[in-house]
């Protein structure tokens, strides 16, 4: 019995509900939520190791065997992402303890963080396309609440845009699922893969796959990222960090799953389109990252660039590139959370988001400055840090496949990432100190500790990439060989 693989989703749901009853007891809420995330991290490490010995695990809900029932499937790819989600969420929770404020905490903030994580983990684990839609909705509903909670004018403005765009894309998602069900008559992913392989990927199915691409493009910010920088800069720092780290990654995960498991027969059409979109995303994101002086916008456009970069790996689809994308996904979840936390801390300390009005912060807050430096190096892909391995592998894959334009765009975009953050660094941390010692806002330890933790994780991920290699190559192997997945689900 593999009941354990449902726990990363069900524990947050159950605890999220229980926390509603603990309304006024914010201290209990804090520690319980943190405990849930730490427990989830432990569970996912355990499952990840079990997958290495026993192969892909699955759980049929209520004993209904596939393809008739709904099921959860845990392979290395999903468990790696669940693990990273748990780590990032724990750290963002610690940051929120000291920054979010009493008003949020009594308005069920921690419950909704739990629901958000439940939706994210459910999306990673599900083996059924309609269930994926449901988990997306759980995640989105929680994110609607989190983005609007607090009710500042900018939040309400952005949340209307955010809700509208996501309701629209969810509707597209539903339509795409209906088309697919009407065409092949099943929604179990393994069963779908089998049937599409049998019938051949007809033009009709390719069109449906493009519809899925549009949906996931909207969710992950692949070219259709116009809503992203605004929405991600509106909510409080801890929430923005969670969004930046998790939400787009779920869209990317879904794209990887759908285009490696289901629609992998017509790569000359679908993967070429993904490649073009990824390239355009890299260009657009790079322009955006340089165009703004608002640090929140700069950071949000860095999320967009990373989306483009990861999908270069999918477009190329060689084993190295896929492995590189998986490494880069983990790296990006951690580093983007860190980047959002650092940017939010800088805004908290200076009271402004415009980089022109910040200067010489490194004298006031040396540790903060050095951490920003490390995160910048990590994002640019400097060797001992975590961004390096992903960039090398994706680059190697693109070179092997002969996609030199994507290769060039991917690496030029890295330079733009470096330049955009270097601009922030030079303007905000270097230069003359404009904050005198008396005016200095004390930097709370509670804000510093999460940043230090994530910095350690990015260094650790860079140095310990070797020990992760077996898991990542297993994940890439499953993605590239759909039969492994199908066998585990249908032929057991």
């Amino acid at each position: 019995m593999n009941n354990i693989i449902v726990l990363p989703m069900v524990i947050p749901v159950l605890i999220g509900i229980i926390l509603i009853f603990l309304g006024p007891y914010t201290k209990a809420q804090r520690w319980i939520s943190l405990g849930v995330m730490v427990a989830n991290a432990g569970i996912s490490i355990y499952i990840l190791n079990r997958i290495q010995t026993e192969g892909i695990l699955r759980l049929d809900f209520g004993g209904w065997t596939p393809p008739f029932g709904i099921l959860f499937v845990a392979d290395s790819f999903s468990m790696i992402l669940v693990l990273t989600t748990s780590i990032v969420t724990s750290v963002c929770l610690i940051y929120s303890f000291f920054s979010i404020g009493k008003a949020h905490e009594t308005m069920f903030f921690y419950s909704f963080v739990n629901f958000l994580v439940a939706g994210v983990n459910g999306s990673f684990l599900t083996g059924d396309l309609f269930n994926l839609y449901v988990c997306f909705e759980i995640m989105l509903l929680a994110s609607y609440v989190l983005i609007a909670l607090g009710g500042r004018k900018v939040q309400l403005k952005e949340s209307i845009k955010y809700v509208a765009i996501n309701v629209l894309s969810s509707w597209f998602f539903l339509v795409a699922i209906a088309y697919l069900y009407g065409t092949v008559g099943t929604l179990n992913m393994a069963h779908l893969s089998e049937r599409i392989a049998e019938a051949g990927q007809t033009p009709l199915l390719t069109v449906i796959s493009i519809l899925f691409l549009t949906v996931f493009g909207l969710k992950s910010g692949l070219l259709l990222y116009f809503w992203l920088p605004g929405s991600y800069s509106a909510p409080p720092t801890a929430v923005a960090a969670l969004f930046g780290a998790l939400l787009t990654k779920v869209g990317i995960y879904a794209m990887f799953r759908v285009f490696t498991l289901l629609f992998y027969h017509e790569t000359s059409i679908t993967h070429t389109i993904i490649g073009v979109l990824a390239g355009l995303t890299l260009i657009g994101g790079s322009i955006g990252a340089l165009a703004y002086k608002d640090i929140r916008q700069i950071v949000s456009y860095n999320v967009v660039i990373a989306v483009g970069f990861i999908l270069v790996g999918l477009a190329v689809a060689t084993p190295e590139a896929i492995e590189g994308s998986i490494y880069y996904l983990m790296h990006d979840m951690i580093v983007k959370a860190l980047l959002f936390l650092l940017a939010g801390t800088m805004i908290y300390l200076t009271g402004t988001a415009n980089i022109d009005y910040m200067s010489g912060l490194i004298r006031n807050y040396p540790l903060l400055g050095w951490m920003f430096f490390i995160v910048m190096m990590s994002l640019a892909g400097i060797p001992p840090l975590s961004g390096f391995i992903g960039k090398v592998l994706v680059g190697q894959g693109a070179a092997d496949a002969g996609s030199y334009i994507l290769l060039a765009l991917a690496f030029i975009s890295s330079i733009f990432v470096l330049y955009s953050l270097l601009r922030v660094f030079l303007s905000c941390f270097w230069g003359e100190t404009i904050i005198s010692v008396e005016d200095e806002v004390p930097l709370k330890k509670g804000m510093l500790v999460p940043c230090v933790l994530l910095t350690l994780v990015t260094i650790g991920l860079g140095l310990g990439a070797e020990s992760l290699a077996p898991y990542v190559s297993d994940a890439a192997n499953t993605l590239l060989n759909p039969d492994v997945y199908i066998d585990a689900v249908l032929n057991d």
Binding site: L14, I17, G62
Partner: protein, 140 residues
């Protein structure tokens, strides 16, 4: 000017019981026929909403002193907890079981764990619908 709605109030006092009965009927019939927790819950919620509209909110809140947000949470908890309960019996998540029992008054009756799940759904629906209506009414 105070609106005179004596007739409406008098009718409501009777109609509410009819609605509540229908809600329970729909809830129970859902096991084998159209109906179930969601529909039963919606009908149950309409009874409450009718009361809130016909009488004023303060009066009804005195009569029904629940925090409907908590009712919704309780319902959701019940629904998830029944799914979770199957873990204790080493069955797959969300498994259900049923059995036949000889109850003193009803005779041989089928009792199923899914009814607890449905009760959770019904409570969640009632809680959410009433919360929505009450928050909208606060705005006006």
């Amino acid at each position: 000017m105070k609106i005179n709605n004596v007739i409406l109030q008098a009718v409501t006092k009777i109609v509410v019981f009819i609605i509540l009965t229908l809600a329970v009927y729909l809830f129970l019939s859902g096991h084998n026929n159209p109906g179930g927790g969601f529909i039963g819950g919606l009908v149950l919620a309409t009874a409450f909403v009718l009361l809130f509209i016909v009488f004023d909110i303060e009066t009804i809140q005195k009569a029904l002193p629940f925090d409907f947000k908590k009712v919704a949470a309780l319902g959701a908890f019940l629904a998830v907890a029944t799914g979770f309960g199957s873990l204790l019996f080493d069955a797959p998540f969300l498994s259900q079981s049923f059995g036949y029992f000889d109850l003193p008054f009803f005779g041989k009756t089928e009792l199923a764990t899914v009814t607890i799940f449905e009760a959770g759904v019904a409570l969640a629906v009632v809680g959410v619908v009433v919360t929505i209506i009450l928050s909208i009414s606060e705005d006006v």
